[in-house]
Symmetry: C2
């Protein structure tokens, strides 16, 4: 008896005798002579139709089987007379592991995303969230596949850190039971970025990338922020800002192509039910060159063409999400890379340009999301780096190892960070970050 | 001008004109007419020999170039008269990014692992740690490749958690600045395992695995424990203990084969300098069936054949590392899977056997390391699970979602966890966990 997944069965080209699937009942339809059961095993979006004939000894049980029940079905895969499916499984034998009570929360009807968030342990059993988390898995693989192919080594940078990469204040603190801070001998935090560690390894292995969880203790309840999220951070030695922009564009084109090719069925759910324009947005990402303009040009464009913004556009200040989306959606209708930002709104490690007013920073903006990636060429000159740290009130002592890396064979290097959840929101059209994370963490939410 | 990595160049079969590499000087040797420079760029273990002729304008600078200096060399790849290398790069032009001071800590000599830990930001520039972290990267890819091929979806389980999987006390606590515990509305901890979350997804997608950081606040300074380490945790629906043991054996054989095939050069460093018997140990893992015996049989064997243990062997108590290694090293000389452990030494979620004394647990023990994987069939019966939680003083309320999963279409399911660092120690022969982690976290250590 060959055990198979629904995905394997549905890939068959011809009928097969005596095969077995295990899964959960999605729906049941009972007629006079036959009961039809849709069984889903999570291997793919589609369910398999199981046909039970009235003459079978377990017919009575099957004609009353409930949604959510777990079953093992043995039978023959035969051509189906029904529309929309090539095959159905004609049952010979059925074993019920557990009959689900009628109160099972996921009855056949449309549930709101808000309700499904409240049962995050069950929502992957729905079509939408099953598809979402299969896509998440496949996109994670695509990230590894891409960077490995390009000669990058994966680097597991530490989650527990004694320093604070961006001088940002929104850190989670970590203590160890009765030992408290004494465990590490100094205050410990959760990382906000693996970049500084990644630079150390890029200056040894040449090209590295991180892919791990990062944290922000920001007490904000927006649809785009979570306290815990995953970032991809490539870092390249012997590379400048242009190399970083090239990698940003090439990697995004690769990742979008990958999801279109490898997640065709799951993606179709999102193009049908979540965002009717999704296919067009993705198509333009892979087929057109991204726009590349300086921050200063972007400000000029926004002042000339923009209107109705909530916040004013002012050179020397951060662009707001509404400005970023206006550039990507209204002005260019495709991804835009902005570069050379005012130094005062960017972290100390970004390389000072010769104008001494801007740094070699870049942000990649995409329609619907705004900022998807942010990076820079790094300041490789020890004296300038130390000055910039002083200007931002960072202790040279606690970053001594970082400064040192500019003394022992310093080289031009560059990299960026990509929010993995934002990538998933981009490729699925889903607008709330809570709906692309298995068990999201936001203020007040740490159930499950 | 084609820019290339040393790895690409060394794979050539014939001479090539005008190519360029960028990297760091490892050694310099100056003769009467020629200077030889070994340049490493981190792409592989080998360095490329660069030959500089005395007639070149930059000869003077090159004849004094220091270890650690960063350079860009353009030249012709020509056959080398020297032994041990097919090609060398005949320099046409050299650019020095930065000349390293003579005080550069990594001069050509053997450094102790202890010293190198104190400069964790520089140690990947050595042969040994460059090789180590390229192997770490490749093994991480192998994990993803294996599970994807087997139909598992990757699941990012949360790092911040409101519950404590094993009822273990060694948890790190997390607070958010001035909000403290109020950020999440209840005490938050760092995860010790993604298993309980992974079970929820296995009961939806069928087969999932996690691969992420986990934490222990144990104040122990051994060579095998770190406060932060990475775990791989597969979980399968419709699976029993035998399926888990089969997956454990198959996955380890795959991973060991992968490193032998894909990391041949880097691995050779460890077989030559770290553990002369390494190749034999790895060869036996892939060529022989693992032994499988019950815990009870293992205790009998240890009582009969073991001697000189520090701790006594007693049925009903945990085996110590010395016992586990004796089984794998002395009795079987290969990996051993122990199963059916006394219920009182195992967590509540492991499935109670019909004898009501043991649970369907398994541990995979390997030579040198002891326990590499630990798992079980999970208790899928709600009433027994609830009883076991009561017996271990766990609140049914805080695990309500976990209990619920046994009500809505419960099925037999099983999985295990593998310590990724222990896998790396196994395949490299390295005996201290601090030396397989880029920036290790142990009591007192959170520098860098």
């Amino acid at each position: 008896m060959k055990r198979m997944t629904v995905q394997e069965m549905l890939s068959f080209k011809e009928e097969r005798m005596e095969i077995r699937i295990m899964g959960w009942v999605r729906t049941r339809r009972t007629g006079r002579e036959l009961t039809f059961i849709e069984v889903n095993d999570g291997s793919c979006l589609a369910s398999l139709q199981v046909v039970v004939e009235a003459s079978l000894p377990f017919y009575e049980e099957m004609s009353r089987i409930t949604t959510g029940s777990s079953v093992c079905v043995t039978g023959d895969l035969v051509s189906s007379p029904a529309e929309g499916q090539a095959f159905e499984l004609k049952a010979r034998d059925v074993q019920v592991y557990q009959r689900a009570p009628e109160s099972y929360p996921l009855q056949k009807k449309r549930h709101s995303d808000e309700f499904l968030r409240s049962i995050a342990h069950l929502r992957p059993r729905t079509n939408k969230y099953g598809a979402m988390f299969r896509i998440r898995s496949e996109m994670a693989f695509a990230v590894h596949h891409y960077y490995r192919k390009k000669g990058f080594s994966l680097l597991h940078t530490p989650i527990l850190t004694g320093s604070d990469c961006e001088g940002a204040g929104e850190l989670f603190s970590v203590t160890a039971g009765e030992k408290g801070e004494a465990f590490f001998g100094k205050p410990a935090h959760l990382t906000v970025s693996g970049q500084l560690s990644a630079e150390m390894f890029a200056l040894a292995l040449g090209r590295v990338y991180t892919f791990g969880p990062t944290f922000r203790a920001e007490n904000s309840n927006t649809s785009r922020h979570a306290a815990e999220f995953w970032m991809v951070e490539p870092e390249m030695a012997f590379a400048d800002l242009d190399d970083a922009m090239d990698l940003a564009e090439d990697s995004l084109k690769f990742l979008v192509s990958w999801v279109m090719e490898h997640c065709r069925e799951d993606l179709s759910l999102f193009t049908r039910f979540v965002d009717k324009d999704l296919a067009g947005v993705l198509e333009r990402i892979i087929s057109e060159d991204f726009a590349r303009i300086t921050y200063t040009e972007a400000v000029d464009l926004l002042l000339k063409k923009g209107s109705g913004f909530e916040f004013p556009v002012v050179w020397g200040e951060d662009l707001k999400s509404e400005h970023e989306r206006f550039l990507a959606e209204n002005i260019f209708s495709k991804p835009v890379i902005l570069y050379n930002y005012p130094k005062n709104i960017k972290p100390f490690y970004m390389r000072l340009n010769d104008d001494e007013k801007t740094v070699a920073a870049m942000d990649l903006l995409v329609p619907r999301i705004g900022e998807l990636m942010g990076g820079s060429q790094r300041e490789e000159r020890e004296d300038i780096l130390a000055m910039r740290m002083d200007a931002q009130n960072l202790s040279r002592e606690s970053y001594h190892w970082y400064l040192e890396s500019r003394r022992w064979g310093s080289v031009p290097h560059a990299g960026f960070g990509m929010g993995f959840e934002r990538l998933l929101m981009l490729v699925t059209g889903v607008s709330n970050i809570r709906d692309v994370i298995p068990f999201p963490r936001t203020p007040g939410n740490i159930e499950f």
